[in-house]
Amino acid sequence: MKKIYSVLVENRSGVLCKVAGLFSRRSYNIDSLAVGETDDPAVSCMTIVSSGDERTIEQIEKQLNKKLDVIKVKTFDETASVSRELMLIKVKYNKGNRRDIMETCEIMKADIVDMSKNLMIIQICDVPEKTNLLIKMLQSVSVVEVARTGTLALPKCMDTE
């Protein structure tokens, strides 16, 4: 079962290490991890995607809450959230495949954000399935390097909020 944890933590040195250490110490999976400041500079938000059985999922939340640098933990399913991942892919191109790549980008709603004579950087911001699909599509050309943010997510808007 996949779960997304949105973890608000004190923005202090060492906190990322403590939270990541908790996952390795207790053999929990981290599928992806993204960290950034929130609107309050004293608070950071970590978005962690993890998977496991029901008991593990519950334990992860409890263990996170036990950490003294953790302010709040929100757990939600992928279906109940809006999630995005940003990815940059540098590919090698030639005259022969340039059109194909551009067409693929168009279909996938990806942008070409930098270019040289035989290299280009493609940017995509979408749900993780789409970003994975783009890599798969580009595997026929030569992918030089990839950088991705990991999933960011927020629970869907509810009128009760």
């Binding site: 060492g14 250490g21 036990k66 003294l68 302010i71």
Partner: protein
């Protein structure tokens, strides 16, 4: 006032009487300032034992144990002691010296990333970056260590911070931590549910863990068990919640526990676990124990509930508060037949031993020793076969039984006994260890001598690492590997070297008189009991 003075002042504000430690350059400003204070310092002989001694003190006094060591190897040496306290949920504040702030990260002499290294064994840790934070950090550290689920807190203080001048010292009265608010009071709805189940139960039982002792809920729990005639069993860490000979007490559970205690727990229809982790040593197959029963799990740490076993009724809170609240309710709970059954089990399912008459029988020796020990005595068991014999045969009256059930760190008993003795000098304190565990801490005989800590020590000597030998006996067909301790020193000569009284028993002949003589001494005594090397727990 400089940082080091401020640290000492904080310890005074917290009512600290003893600091166990080992100095080095990086903690020297602190050890210089403490000379001006009434706080007594105990120079332990290795840093690990500073944490164990602080643990012994904490467990009998209910206060936070404090140790202070230097940077680098001093700090890394103390980790095993901290990890032991963490596994057993013992409140400690451990102060470590650190190299100059500006040098952190440059791998200079005696630098170690101790806050990083100790992360998974502490409740929390601090690296002090501003001298003016010292009062707040110490206030928080003592509060964190001794509230909620107890545990060790480490404060790493660079030497320049210890030397820097403070603007003003004001010890905070309250702690304001937005991320830490432990639940102590049990949820009323859950308590009602527990009472509902108790009224229905035909075979209720309580299993007490170390959490009951940490919360100081012995009285409340005993009163509850007596009022409603609810049988009680315990984990290793829960020994002493009930006096061993209490009619409602049915012994320790687990793979080394009493067969009738395990049977009682298995056959119950309502199991109330209090302050116990349901770890492998107490419950070998946690998933199975809920098959035929309702499980009420009471713990101050919500993460313990559901970690190893799913509870039917989770109840988060401090045991003392919860049993005080349950005591306010009136209900009936009848199960006479169950008590009769359990009494029958207790009378008939005892373990039979066949002691070798050529040696001291550790089981009978421990029983006779504890019978002669004072009512409120503190018995500290080490780790190994001695721990299992101690758990099985020591009779707790109204004293304490200390051991490390979680981490199982060899060498715990002597330093922990020293800490306990310093905390309550009026009480009899006896450490019982094997010849393996004794040799892990025998350097502390010097500490006992130097600071006049009259702890009594019993060494069950078999020239083997008995517990491992026993494991190799069962699992490797007596193919013994690295368990022979025959190079051990002559303990009589060793005792002489430390000006200690010495006694040795070879058989059970006149053992009661020897025990009486051993216990009657005002000073430290080392007693060696020669036991059968092939004996099994």
């Amino acid at each position: 006032m400089i940082g080091a003075d401020a640290i000492v002042k904080c310890l005074e504000e917290e009512g600290v009487e003893y600091v166990f430690g080992y100095p080095g350059v990086a903690i020297c400003p602190f050890y210089n300032s403490i000379l001006e204070s009434d706080i007594k310092t105990i120079l332990i002989r290795t840093e690990q034992n500073a944490a164990h001694a602080a643990s012994g003190l904490a467990r009998v006094s209910g206060k936070v144990g404090v140790c202070a060591v230097t940077s680098g190897p001093g700090a890394t040496n103390v980790i095993t002691g901290i990890a032991t306290a963490f596994a057993d949920s013992i409140p400690l504040v451990c102060i470590t010296g650190q190299v100059n702030s500006e040098l952190i990260g440059s791998d200079v002499f005696q630098e170690a990333d101790i806050t990083g290294a100790v992360e998974s064994f502490v409740k929390y840790s601090y690296l002090v970056k501003d001298v003016n934070d010292i009062p707040r950090i110490f206030k928080e550290a003592f509060y964190i260590a001794n509230s909620g689920r107890r545990g060790p807190v480490l404060i790493d203080v660079p030497i320049d911070i210890q030397r820097a001048a403070l603007k003003k010292f004001a010890y905070p009265e309250t702690v304001n931590l937005r991320t830490y608010k432990p639940t102590v009071k049990g949820h009323a709805v859950q308590i009602k549910k527990v009472i509902g189940e108790l009224a229905k139960a035909k075979r209720p039982i309580i299993c007490t863990g170390g959490g009951v002792l940490l919360s100081g809920a012995q009285e409340e729990l005993r009163a509850f068990a007596e009022k409603y005639s609810i049988p009680v069993v315990s984990t290793m860490m829960g020994i002493g919640v009930m006096p061993t000979k209490h009619p409602m007490y049915y012994g320790m559970v687990g793979n080394n526990g009493k067969p009738y205690a395990n049977r009682a727990m298995n056959e119950s229809d309502l199991l109330i676990m209090v302050g116990a982790r349901v770890a492998d040593r107490a419950v070998s197959q946690p998933d199975l124990i809920t098959e035929n029963k309702i499980l009420v799990h009471i713990d101050v740490d919500p993460a313990e509930i559901g970690k190893n076993v799913g509870a039917s009724i989770p109840l988060v809170g401090d045991a003392k508060h919860i049993f005080e609240d349950i005591a306010k309710e009136e209900f009936t709970c009848e199960h006479e037949e169950w008590i009769t059954t359990l009494n029958h089990y207790r009378d008939t399912m005892g373990k039979k031993r066949n002691p070798n008459p050529d040696y001291v029988d550790p089981a009978e020796f421990i029983r006779l020793l504890s019978e002669q020990m004072e009512d409120d005595a503190v018995y500290v068991a080490d780790v190994g076969q001695n721990q299992i014999w101690s758990c099985s045969y020591h009779i707790v009256k109204n004293g304490r039984f200390l051991t490390t059930g979680g981490m199982g760190t060899m060498g715990y008993s002597i330093p922990a006994a020293m800490g306990a003795k310093l905390a309550c000098p009026g009480r009899q304190v006896v450490a019982v260890c094997g010849d393996g565990s004794f040799q892990m801490s025998m350097m502390e005989l010097a500490t006992m001598r130097q600071f006049h800590v009259p702890v009594k020590i019993i060494v069950l000597k078999n020239n083997y690492l008995g517990m491992v030998r026993e494991f190799q006996h069962y699992n490797y067909k007596d193919h013994y590997s690295v368990v022979d301790l025959s190079g051990s020193p002559d303990l009589e000569k060793l005792a002489m070297a430390y000006d200690m009284k010495f006694m040795r028993l070879f058989t059970m002949e006149n053992v009661e008189a020897a025990i009486a003589e051993f216990l009657a001494q005002d000073e430290s005594v080392l007693m060696e009991c020669v036991i059968d090397p092939m004996d099994l727990v």
